[in-house]
């Protein structure tokens, strides 16, 4: 009995030591901040402020959050924001180094060309287009962009139910565990990674796609859908114009490559076309990154998505994709 007790004690101590070793590794491999409910409503949540982050599960990047809990490390800052950027994990850019995300690169371009403009990103993981439209008014109120509000999306076809919730103000807010036991567990990087691995394992077991999916859904375009979409875009455009700025939606679908290495050309589905039509109708600028991404691939053999530790062309936007987006936005804003 005594032997068993001593062995258990040894095992417990060894387990703790192993956890410390694993946690130390995670500091440089998977160290994400904890998120908190954003009471201002500009986003559903914000990250720990001034937090060093590392991520090696998809790409490898070191980043830092700013005083508001978003990823903005461009050294030059203005009192006023000229361009407010909203978006998902692609915009947030935890997969690329802090000086490689498109907001940083856009600001660099402004500075290099002597333009007194400043872009600020509140891009946050899990914030798709509809979630950002839900938060649009609060975001514009808080940051008061002088010229543009840009919303990034990988998807321009939606569920009717989601559109209904958006228009009726019942679109669900993402939950944050900012207190209690789960909050404490999140502070331990290794546990955070295990949770991510577990979720990914369960998703793959259920044959769900883990990456943000740009795959088109072939929903039928009904009158109800058009009406709901119209209302959503009209409201967003009005909110932007009321605050004195232009709403820009940029769409970044992934590129599919065939056996011979050629880009598979995709036509818009009817549902997607209806989104573009609605944008045109209410003066929302729509930028489709497909052509720019294709041109980049055809001239440099570089795909805008994927990293050196993932399948090529899938997952989040990589540094080449970010550079391409920054150039496209810059050309649009300066040209337009």
């Amino acid at each position: 009995m005594k032997k068993v007790f001593i062995w258990l004690l040894k095992a417990f101590t060894a387990g703790l030591a192993a956890l410390c070793i694993a946690n130390l590794l995670c500091f440089f491999y998977y160290n994400l901040p904890v998120h908190y409910t954003n009471k201002s409503g500009t986003t559903d949540y914000y990250w720990d402020a001034d937090h060093f982050s590392s991520r090696g599960t998809e790409g490898f990047a070191l980043t830092k959050t700013d005083e508001n809990g978003f990823v903005n490390t461009f050294p030059y800052k203005k009192e006023t924001v000229d361009v407010l950027i909203m978006g998902s994990s692609h915009t947030e850019g935890f997969n690329v180094n802090e000086d490689e995300n498109y907001t940083y690169l856009l600001n660099s371009k402004f500075l290099e060309n002597g333009l007194d403009k400043y872009a600020y990103s509140i891009g946050t993981s899990g914030h798709g287009l509809l979630r950002n439209l839900k938060n649009l008014e609060n975001a514009l109120e808080a940051y008061r962009p002088q010229e543009y509000v840009v919303i990034e999306t990988t998807k321009i076809d939606f569920d009717t139910e989601d559109l209904e919730q958006l228009n009726s103000g019942t679109y669900e807010t993402l939950k944050s565990y900012d207190s209690g036991f789960i909050y404490a567990l999140q502070k331990i990087d290794y546990f955070r990674l295990v949770h991510t691995q577990y979720n990914s394992f369960i998703k793959s077991s259920d044959n769900e796609d883990d990456s943000p999916s740009p795959v088109q859904t072939e929903a039928a375009v009904t009158d109800e859908y058009i009406q709901l979409l119209d209302t959503a875009i009209r409201n967003a455009a009005k909110t932007a114009s009321d605050k004195g700025c232009t709403l820009v939606v940029f769409y970044s679908p992934s590129l599919e490559i065939d056996y011979n290495g050629n880009v598979i050309k995709r036509e818009y589905t009817q549902v997607q076309q209806s989104f573009i039509t609605a944008c045109g109708k209410y003066g929302v600028d729509f930028i489709d990154m497909s052509e720019a991404f294709t041109a980049m691939y055809e001239t440099t053999d570089r795909l805008p998505f994927g990293f050196s530790n993932t399948a090529v062309g899938t997952g989040h936007i990589n540094k080449y994709g970010h550079a391409c987006v920054a150039q496209e936005l810059y050309d649009f804003m300066i040209g337009g």
């Binding site: 040894k10 060894a14 192993a18 691995q197 394992f201 793959s204 011979n260 399948a311």
Partner: protein, 480 residues
């Protein structure tokens, strides 16, 4: 049920704990040795059928039928009743089963295309998991009884030998002569076996879900669209595949060896650092040792081996390797892979005959031989991995005609190559330290009674969870 699932973890406990009850003194004193042994074998047999039936319960019926025929054949052979008839039955029946489930459509397709027949009505046959492995084991039992290497055994022993769950679906192919004597031992489960078995299992798990599965992402990408990638990426992908298939299959073998060890059974290692082989003959002594041993003992030697003249020796070698290739799958790419290896073995044998008596074992010559053998094996892997000849030719043309494309220097490829080289260097150092001539692989097993051993073991588990590939990726050899 696969070793890398949560179900298997529960299953393992559900099998191990009841057998552990036989360690209790009251039970040991109360039951006779024979009864204890029978009970343990019964638990293992039932659990092996549950393990196999987890895929499809109908597979169990097939395995049961095969077991019955093998048992009956061997029993009659040993009693000298219709010896010839039962020899043929014991060998041909498993081959017919294997041929029907694995090769029926392959041969029908070949026949229809040869004679230009539009359709001969291909059947929708489900390939039972691991059929190639357990049919070989059942034949091994019959042949070993025929040769007198072992005596015939009871039906339950034969059933356990064929269905024993650690090696059931992807080997190693355990010879009856190696396994049957172990069934007679009635040793209680012990902590030493459990500790060693778990560590070997974890070692295999690391190879499978950290190395092989992460590499599969890149390899699958390149083999799906080889012309999209640069030559450098394609070469890296082929090297990655060589590492992937090694870690996938040897990882499974290690897990099987580890699980069997937990229950007190010893299986021989199935791999022994194959990529340091100086020639193809050595490669086959280090790669999938249980299959090459099986093919040598039950195919090459019965065909005549090298006893019937030079020409027959080469024909036998070629035939053995072509059939070995076909054993892997019903596709001409596997046949061609086997043919390439067979031809290489013939060339090597010829070379040995030509340079008889001359010794050449300088460091540079040895290094060049290792590199050349590895390069040859990699080229052969292209045919093994590609779904058809077109893809294989496209991959090879990309490898040998330098051209551009997507340049993907995959992190896990670089990491695993560095790791493999370091592990090989460690094995070489160990061999040197121990004064051994040849470098052999070994399992890094620590004393789990010491805190340092426990820290290493727990760290290994945590690192496996940390870096594990979480997508779905079945074992490559399950398809065989």
């Amino acid at each position: 049920m696969v070793f890398t699932s949560i179900e298997f973890f529960v299953f393992f406990l559900a099998v191990y704990l009841p057998i552990l009850l036989f360690n209790l003194k009251p039970l040991r004193n109360k039951l006779s040795e024979k009864t204890q042994l029978s009970c343990k074998h019964f638990i293992l047999l039932v659990s092996s059928y549950i393990f196999y039936g987890w895929w499809d319960y109908r597979f169990c019926l097939l395995m049961l039928l095969l077991t019955f025929v093998s048992w009956l054949s061997a029993k009659n052979i040993s009693q000298n009743k219709h010896r010839r008839l039962f020899t043929v039955t014991g060998i041909v029946f498993p081959l017919v089963i294997l041929g029907f489930f694995k090769y029926f459509n392959f041969f029908v397709d070949g026949f229809t295309s040869l004679f230009g027949i539009e359709s001969a009505g291909a059947l929708n046959i489900i390939l039972p998991v691991g059929i190639s492995f357990y049919t070989f084991q059942s034949m091994s039992y019959t042949i070993d009884v025929l040769k007198g290497t072992i005596a015939s055994h009871s039906f339950s022993d034969v059933a356990l030998y064929i269905s024993f769950f650690p090696q059931l679906v992807a080997g190693p192919i355990v010879k009856a002569a190696d396994f049957m004597p172990q069934l007679k031992k009635n040793e209680p489960l012990n902590l030493c076996d459990l500790s060693v078995g778990l560590q070997i299992f974890m070692f295999g798990l690391f190879k499978k879900i950290v190395i092989a599965d992460n590499l599969s992402v890149f390899v699958d990408d390149v083999f799906a669209k080889p012309l999209a990638f640069s030559s450098l990426s394609v070469i890296l992908a082929v090297i990655s595949y060589s590492v992937q298939i090694y870690c996938d299959f040897s990882g499974y073998s290690d897990m099987a060896i580890g699980v069997a060890r937990c229950f007190g059974y010893n299986f021989r290692p199935n791999f022994n650092i194959p990529y340091i082989s100086k020639n193809v003959s050595e490669f086959w002594k280090r790669w999938h040792i249980s299959l090459s041993g099986w093919l040598q003992e039950y195919l090459y030697i019965p065909l005549g081996g090298n006893r019937k003249g030079t020409a027959r020796k080469y024909i036998n070698l070629l035939l053995t390797m072509v059939l070995g290739g076909l054993w892997h799958g019903a596709n001409y790419t596997f046949v061609f892979w086997g043919l390439l290896h067979g031809a290489a073995l013939c060339v090597h044998k010829l070379w040995l005959t030509l340079k008889k008596g001359k010794k050449s074992s300088g460091v540079i010559t040895s290094a060049a031989s290792v590199l050349f053998t590895y390069a040859f094996v990699c080229v052969c892997w292209v045919f093994f991995r590609a779904e058809n000849f077109k893809t294989a030719i496209d991959v090879l043309s990309k490898m040998f005609i330098w051209s551009g494309g997507i340049n993907q220097i995959f992190f896990w490829s670089v990491f695993s190559i560095v790791l493999l080289v370091a592990a090989t260097a460690a094995a070489a150092l160990k061999a040197k330290k121990e004064g051994k001539k040849s470098v052999n692989g070994y399992y890094p097993v620590f004393d789990l009674n010491k805190i340092s051993g426990l820290i290493i073991f727990f760290s290994e588990i945590m690192l496996i969870i940390m870096f594990a590939y979480t997508g779905s990726n079945p074992f490559i050899y399950f398809q065989f």
